[in-house]
């Protein structure tokens, strides 16, 4: 509770949470305030913004604001999905390896280091390119999550191994707690704030990563996302024709999501790491 009070005293924290909530509200409640669907054509292709259609239309004549709302929702969803998987897998492996030590630690460490170097991007391209059908939002989230867990593992492992020499661990062990129970009940709670900060960054990575692979035509088949909007703007020469509403709003939304998550992360860091305070 005291932590929350401390956090709320920080203007950057309040600002970033506000910004993030704003994007979430826009994504979830947008359709109620702006009831135009993303299927019907409401005008000619790339119609300029007007009073009725605030940001004009896309290359098919679909209303841009409603596309952006739907895209924002998909992007946040993919980010959250990827972030949860990456954080869960990464934290579990990291805590277990750091606490257990020995050959299991060496093995997990080796695999982590290997996949830290082999770029997520390459793995993503190879997997997505070999799946010719059924590339849903969830699947893309899973793929991103399964390829970005490595640095969570690495940083959590370092923290966990520094905790294992504490007295309360020895006490719990004497009381007969098993390794898994020790790791989950006696190590993990100490790392929760740290894990939460890692999670925030992983969500940001997931959002950006989805947009990136959508740009090269490997995005979801069945839905709009911010990346898909940008891809179609690029493929239909919106840039060369000066149709700013086809890509600037999507770029701004993408940046706002990532920026608010980064700011949230740094503002929490100033609370958890006293040295950074002024």
């Amino acid at each position: 509770m005291k932590l929350l009070v401390n956090l709320l005293k920080l203007p950057t924290f309040v600002f970033s949470v506000g910004l993030l909530l704003l994007t979430i509200f826009l994504a979830l409640l947008g359709p109620f305030f702006y009831p135009i669907d993303v299927i019907s054509k409401v005008g000619p292709p790339y119609m300029a913004p007007n009073a009725e259609h605030l940001l004009g239309t896309d290359n098919l004549g679909v209303d841009m604001v409603s596309l952006l709302i739907a895209g924002l929702r998909s992007s946040l969803y993919v980010g959250l999905f990827a972030g949860i998987i990456a954080t869960a897998v990464g934290t579990f492996l990291g805590v277990y390896a750091g606490f257990k030590g020995g050959w299991i630690d060496d093995l997990i460490n080796m695999v982590t280091n290997l996949f830290l170097v082999i770029p997520t991007f390459v793995v993503l391209i190879l997997i997505s390119a070999s799946l010719t059908e059924g590339r849903s939002l969830e699947l893309i989230g899973i793929i991103i999550g399964c390829t970005t867990w490595t640095w969570t593992t690495r940083s959590v492992r370092a923290q966990a191994s520094s905790l294992k020499a504490r007295d309360h661990i020895a006490l719990a062990r004497v009381n007969g707690a098993g390794t898994l129970k020790l790791a989950m009940l006696h190590i993990l709670p100490y790392l929760l704030s740290y894990v939460f900060m890692v999670f925030i960054i992983q969500v940001a990575t997931g959002v950006a990563m989805e947009a990136t692979i959508s740009m090269i035509g490997l995005g979801p088949f069945d839905t709009v996302s911010l990346g898909i909007i940008l891809e179609s703007a690029m493929n239909n020469d919106a840039l060369n024709d000066g149709i700013w509403w086809a890509f600037i709003p999507a770029t701004v939304l993408l940046t706002v999501i990532v920026f608010s998550l980064y700011t949230l992360n740094t503002s929490m860091e100033t609370v958890f790491n006293p040295r950074l305070r002024k």
């Binding site: 830290l116 082999i118 390459v122 391209i125 090269i216 950074l276």
Partner: protein, 355 residues
Amino acid sequence: MLKKYPTTRYILRSGGWYFLTFLVAISVNFVLPRLGKANPVDIIIAKHGAGKTQHAIQVKEEGYLKEFGLVKLDPDGAIVRDADGKPVRSSLWSQYVSYLGMCLRGDLGTSFMNYPKKVSEIVIEAVAWDFALQLPAIILGWLLGNILGALAAYKRGVFDYLFFPLSLLVCSIPFFAFGMLLKYQFGIVWPIFPTTGGYASNIHYSFSWEFFSNASYYYFLPFMSIFPVLLGGYAIGMRSMGIYELGTDYIRYASYLGIKENRIISYVFRNAMLPQLTGVALNLGNMIGGALIAEIIFSYPGLGTTILKAIQGQDYTLIQGTALLVAIMIIAANFTVDIVIAIFDPRVKAGMAGA
């Protein structure tokens, strides 16, 4: 072993480690495309086979199967057939062995889109452009970012108030989105810079002043789409490292001794630089990958554009070959950073690092 030369030992050890990583990357590159249900040869035949006779299709299919190493060959190089005359598929293991052999010989197969051009030729041509684009951006971004970050950490105050959120904002923009904004503003709204390609179409690819001056004109926008983002990222890292270092006892002691400000900054800089180097190594994969996508916006003739074309044309050998080359690039970049660390980190010289 090599106890007297800790630096060499460190470099050799990490070199061996990266070689192992390289082998894993090759294996990943072999396994992942085979997970999908679609067999690339079937897709190609379905695409190009229309309007041809049954026999012509069969000859073509067997040619591809042979080239991919998907069928068994007898010592003369002819396809081994079963009783019905159908080619016998080779086992996954022997496919893997022949794939490994090809990779180590530098043979990445033949591109389908640009038949009969070799994949290795295409990617080598493209990778030169990426070197020219990314290497200066990464090095300059790192140096300038570190200097700005150290200043922000030391001065704090107004400089920091403005500078820190700005850096955070800039590095929240994905490379390609930043590239789009730049292209729109400086290529379309104000047509100052060219927006597509690596050089003008009426100029020949040669070692001449004319070519280089033209290419650097085309270079500006793609470079600017990755440079500020990198700069911002490194500045943020350096800022928090710097703040951490400034709080340490040795810096307090130095300032109580009345050592000059510049001197103290240089101490902070030296000590914070090493974690920053490790930071580069950790981030290289995402950075290089992201920058490749930014090229696409400008149709810059590097690997990113090659990947896009390969995906659009479902050219599996080219996708695989490009992906492998990107992986090799990143592994090589990591190894280079490790060597630089080995040279500058006094702990390596003392034989402590990695121990």
